[in-house]
């Protein structure tokens, strides 16, 4: 969300792009008027609640009694809360392993689908399909059944002599299951990769072939740098997305984050604190901490991006 305007700003500021003359006035007024219903909704339903949650994060609000100001208490107790620390660990594990794997899968499939072959349209739809249904409740339920005792996964692995039993009830396996679920939903970044791949001029590859470059060389020296803005975009979006995982964890663990806290993701714990334990102030503090941390991570990404992301029109 915060990402795309920045990308376009950088592209727009390139010298080759002529700047359009400003034409404000009545048109703008019509524009803003059309925007008004959305803007009102945005202020009333997003900005307003965010500000009030910032206030509540400094209180002991419990949904019933008037909130009482307690300063930074919520924020300081967070770091003595073992379940909070556990939820941070679980979430980081998911982000650090899940996101790169998902992007790798997305890029690999996108490159396969980029070649000219008969029926590519069908394959593209087929590979995108899991993402359309993947976020839904039903898939999490199917996933739970697949990875249960004597489910298809257990039986399949047993056939090869690997007896792991059900993954759903085993605290050491649930993270692997959750990561597989997210990797399987590679469709959205894949489509973006595919669009990016199509932008790379084919003559670059032809020239490289003439010079005797192999596929690995071509990938490292042409595809990767040419695709780097798209990779950067996907990496950022998927990382932010991964921090917010909720629905699938909620369903697979029956809303408890089990077994043994192995699927106690950050947002799930936030939800439990807020709506099961009625500790809205505490939950608000958690929410704001997440906003701040994700903001910092985004900032770090942008800082490091200078060294590896190449925009067309850049002189580097």
């Amino acid at each position: 969300m915060t990402q795309s305007p920045t990308l376009s700003r950088r592209t727009a500021s390139a010298p080759s792009q002529p700047r359009k003359s400003r034409r404000r006035g009545p048109d703008a007024r019509a524009g803003y008027t059309f925007l008004l219903p959305w803007l009102l909704g945005f202020i009333a339903l997003t900005v307003g609640p965010m500000i009030s949650s910032l206030y509540l994060s400094f209180t002991n609000y419990n949904l019933f009694d008037a909130p009482k100001w307690i300063g930074f208490d919520n924020y300081t107790t967070l770091f003595q809360d073992e379940r909070f620390l556990q939820s941070v660990g679980v979430t980081l594990q998911y982000v650090v392993f899940g996101t790169p794997l998902k992007l790798a899968a997305a890029l690999a499939i996108a490159m396969l689908l980029n070649s000219k072959r008969k029926g590519q349209g069908f394959y593209r739809s087929a590979f995108y399909a899991p993402s359309l249904i993947g976020a839904s409740v039903s898939i999490a339920i199917v996933w739970k059944a697949m990875f249960g005792d004597s489910g298809p996964v257990d039986q399949g692995l047993s056939f090869f002599g690997i007896n792991l039993g059900g993954w759903v009830g085993n605290p050491n396996m649930t993270m692997g299951m959750m990561i597989l679920l997210t990797v399987w939903q590679f469709g959205a970044p894949m489509v973006i990769f595919l669009a990016g791949l199509k932008q790379i001029p084919t003559d670059l590859y032809e020239a490289a072939s003439m010079d005797g470059a192999g596929p690995v060389r071509k990938f490292l020296n042409i595809t990767w740098p040419m695709l780097s803005p798209v990779i950067f975009f996907n990496l950022l979006m998927e990382t932010i997305h991964a921090f917010q995982i909720f629905a699938s964890a909620y369903i697979i663990s029956n809303g408890e984050g089990g077994p043994a806290g192995s699927t106690l993701f950050y947002t799930l714990y936030l939800y439990l604190r807020g709506f099961s334990d009625f500790r809205m102030g505490y939950a608000s503090a958690m929410a704001w901490l997440l906003v701040i941390v994700v903001g910092i991570i985004t900032l770090i990404f942008f800082k490091t991006s200078k060294s590896w992301v190449h925009y067309s029109g850049d002189s580097k």
Binding site: P26, R29, P37, P259, A260, D277
Partner: protein, 429 residues
């Protein structure tokens, strides 16, 4: 010619203001405290439960409306977990339904925070109730809930499964050592396919009963914990030798069976829980017959048992129709025909009028007979648990699960639970 920009502006403004106006139009207020047959008042009623309970409740509501043509009842239900999240948000917005089915665990959370109507201020007949039962709906002298029905703790077992293993049926006169030996025997003979039971130390109410057997109060009158870390340590150590053996079904298995219980899934031969789960277990497991016996106790004269309101009827403190709400509650807890509709699916009816007007047959009779058989051991129902009890109860279960996964030692589990409990009591002080 109409100027294009002017046209656009007008259209946009028009759309926006229409949306705004229609949003305002919905807040017309209704008036009137009482209704008449021509102009009945509408009250809202919400409950948790499955389709079976929904069907029975609809019948009861229809009966109420036919007897009270000046009141209309709009019903709404959900499952137990989602139920409390909905009530929490409604309470925050000041929009709780007029009448609600309630659970003891949440009575203080809402009652003490002035969300529930003091039913002592309205007319509800409680003459037909056991005097020992009513205090469980009261907090500091005010009545917030009227019990619809009672349930008691029991050990369920499946006689067919025991017979197939060649194990004699228990008679319920056992101490904890004997009960453990029984579970271990089932586990040993069940050979990995049938387990003794679930870890009974994971259920708060079972711990509460054990405390009562040892004459310890779970909570003090000031809302503090009435037991020590050592007590809890002793409790969780009761099954220390059984965890990880066939006597107790592993958490990894139990987790996967959710939302069904291991007992309902025919994975265990016994289960220690409330006696009104009978119908549910029968339906889930498909067993021909399930039997109930009392929980173990090291003191044969003190089983620590009590009748708990399996559910209560409460009204919102903000209801505009106190009189209609009171009449509906009175009807639901006292009317014999309502008893005939629900049988024991809400528990055994608490009001004698309703109980005597209900015929119990088959499994319903089993539950009623069980509660009769333990009558001489029954003591006063516990006070409504402390604020935030729902969280303590679920933490109790979660910590025991970690014990069973081997993620925590008993000492670690005790520390973890006490930390959470003390933090919560401090929060709500």
């Amino acid at each position: 010619m109409i100027d294009r920009r002017k046209f656009l502006t007008t259209v946009a403004l028009g759309t926006a203001s229409a949306a705004f106006l229609s949003a305002c139009g919905q807040s017309s207020s209704s008036s009137g405290q009482t209704g008449s047959a021509d102009n009945p008042v509408s009250i809202t009623y919400t409950w948790w439960g499955n389709d079976d309970r929904a069907e029975r409740t609809r019948k009861a509501i229809a009966l109420f409306e036919s007897k009270n043509p000046d009141i209309k009842v709009n019903g709404n239900f959900s499952d137990f977990a989602g139920y409390w999240q909905k009530r929490a948000t409604e309470a925050a917005g000041g929009g709780l339904p007029d009448v609600m089915q309630w659970d003891l665990s949440y009575l203080r959370d809402y009652g003490q925070r002035n969300q529930l109507l003091d039913l002592g201020t309205v007319k509800i007949n409680t003459d037909a109730f056991e005097k020992s039962l009513l205090p469980s709906g009261q907090i500091r002298g005010k009545t917030y809930g009227i019990p619809t029905s009672t349930n008691a703790f029991a050990v369920y077992y499946d006689p067919a499964k025991l017979a197939s293993l060649g194990i004699a049926e228990p008679d319920g006169s056992w101490n904890y050592k004997e009960f453990n030996a029984f579970l271990a025997e089932v586990g040993a003979k069940g050979n990995g396919t049938l387990f003794g039971g679930t870890d009974y130390t994971g259920i708060w109410w079972n711990f509460n009963i054990w405390l009562r057997q040892n004459n310890i109060k779970a909570f003090t009158d000031e809302g503090k914990l009435g037991f020590s870390k050592d007590d809890l340590k002793k409790w969780w150590n009761l099954t220390a030798d059984l965890r990880g053996t066939g006597a107790i079904v592993g958490e990894d298995k139990a987790t996967q069976l959710l939302p069904k219980s291991p007992f309902g899934s025919n994975v265990t031969a016994t289960e220690v829980t409330w006696d009104n789960f009978m119908a549910g277990y029968l339906a889930d497991s498909g067993a021909k017959e399930l039997k109930l016996v009392p929980v173990p106790s090291d003191d044969p004269d003190n089983l620590g048992l009590f009748l708990k309101p399996s559910m209560l009827m409460v009204a919102s403190a903000k209801t505009k129709y106190k009189d209609a709400a009171a009449r509906f509650i009175d009807f639901m807890v006292n009317d014999p025909e309502v008893g005939q509709i629900f049988k024991t699916s809400r528990g055994v009816p608490a009001s004698k009028t309703q109980r005597d007007g209900t015929t119990f047959e088959g499994t319903d009779k089993l539950v009623v007979d069980y509660e009769k058989s333990i009558e001489k051991y029954l003591k006063d129902a516990p006070e409504p648990p402390i604020v935030g009890f729902g969280t303590l109860e679920s933490t109790f279960k979660r910590v025991t699960q970690d014990l069973n996964y081997g993620k925590l030692t008993v000492d670690g589990a005790v520390d973890a639970w006490f930390k959470e409990a003390e933090d919560l009591i401090k929060q709500n002080a």
